[in-house]
Amino acid sequence: MDSRVHAFLSVDKSSALDAARRWDARRADADALPPLAGLPVAIKDIICSQGLPTTCGSRILEGWRSPYDATVITRLREAGAIVIGKTNLDEFAMGSSTENSAFGPTRNPWDLARVPGGSSGGSAAAVSADMVPLALGTDTGGSVRLPAAFTGIVGLKPTYSRVSRYGLVAFASSLDQIGPLARTVADAALLLQVIAGRDPRDSTSADLPVPDYSASLPDGVKGMKIGIPREAIGAGLQREVNDAVLAAARVLEQAGASLIEVSLPTIEYAVPTYYILAPSEASANLARYDGVKYGLRVRTPDIHAMYARTRGEGFGTEVKRRIMLGTYALSAGFYEGFFLKAQQVRTLVRKDFTVAFGSVDLVLMPVAPTVAFKLGEKAHDPLQMYLTDIYTIPVNLAGLPGISVPCGSADGLPIGLQLIGKPFDEATVLRAAHTYEQSTEWHKARPQLT
């Protein structure tokens, strides 16, 4: 099946089968099994794992093997999970369609002519097509939630710093966050439980207790206040998406929540803010790919030519574009007008959410303005591609937890509902998403790959 979807870049079949046999042998002792015993988990190929390559979807790291496991991988292994393979992505997680992979695009299992969203498109497609029950992705501007929405599954971006980034190859360090992809909210909660929490190896990871996410799922939404931002509804949205999201809000209302109109006036400035901050951080983070310590080296007699030629040949079009954009924004004479300005607007975006959360427990809006688009449709217009993320990027800028849960369909393609919570309140996000999911049938629909 994966020959048509192309969700995986590498699969560790023999060790996965060995591990599965070991867990099978222990099934008799069911009470002593760890939470993910024997479950195959697919890993976005930007998270370092021993035993399999870590390519970041880039020629510059083709064939490179990490000498260590990321903290999330260590935790998965301790929980009994089987790291079955590494999934396709936009190169260095830069993209919204998984078309920017140096190893070819991933296709949407619902319609092979369409993109699965990105950048965690391989992880989302693998879960959507029932190749694996669980996967990890990363979300810097929507890269877990968007592909979850486009492929009809659940994707959660935790609060910034909830999950350790140790061993996650850095794209934009102030925004990057690892998150679970799963078929149901309960499965996503289970996976988050395993990966969340303080890690001494990531000094930015939050030193806060991790609540029992699964335990509070059945508590319902009675008395919960859910805000709908007036700026996020109506104009600019595909009509079916607009209708599905508003219908989902009414389902939550019928389950006992109250709906309140809120305002996020600076939301329209989130995309330009992000496209200054993320490329700036990326231009610094990607300086390490210079042909010295790992990956590709283009041999030249002179070291400066080696740096430039290695990077010129190793990076793809979108990565180069963002390195150029970020380097420009940070260069002398432009720093204050671009980078500093964007950091200030980031404060305003955060403040909008803080004000909204003064009167509501959750914010509800679409994940994306449309359903999955066709391969090639936006590939030659970077700006149109960037605007795919207008509803997900504000959540990263504010560092909040956000989930995508299936809430409808248009022309046979899934639509995602986004629920956004207060910092470190993943429990409420998951509880409301679970309540919604269990009141509807959308999560039961599966693509018919023939």
Partner: protein
Amino acid sequence: MSITPSIVNHVARLARLELSPEERERLVHELAAILDHLAKLNELSTTGVEPTSHVIPMTNVFRDDTVGRSLPREAVLEGAPERDGEFFKVPPIIETEPEP
């Protein structure tokens, strides 16, 4: 926003990126279009607004100064494009003087 070929050349040099003539030509137009969109931020007044560099308030994360396990040297060097014993090997950085 006006982006000239010389700006693209300058930024590419800062970023240590070798670009083909076609890539340079394309970037002149693409960067101009993207920067025009980004200039939308100038509609907002940000006088007196503190910049956000990090969303979680954090200062000086301390830990005990204890020796931990580090990666085995051999495992790290295995990924090197070129090595010399225990070292990463690179082309000459400084021209050596000829032997007398």
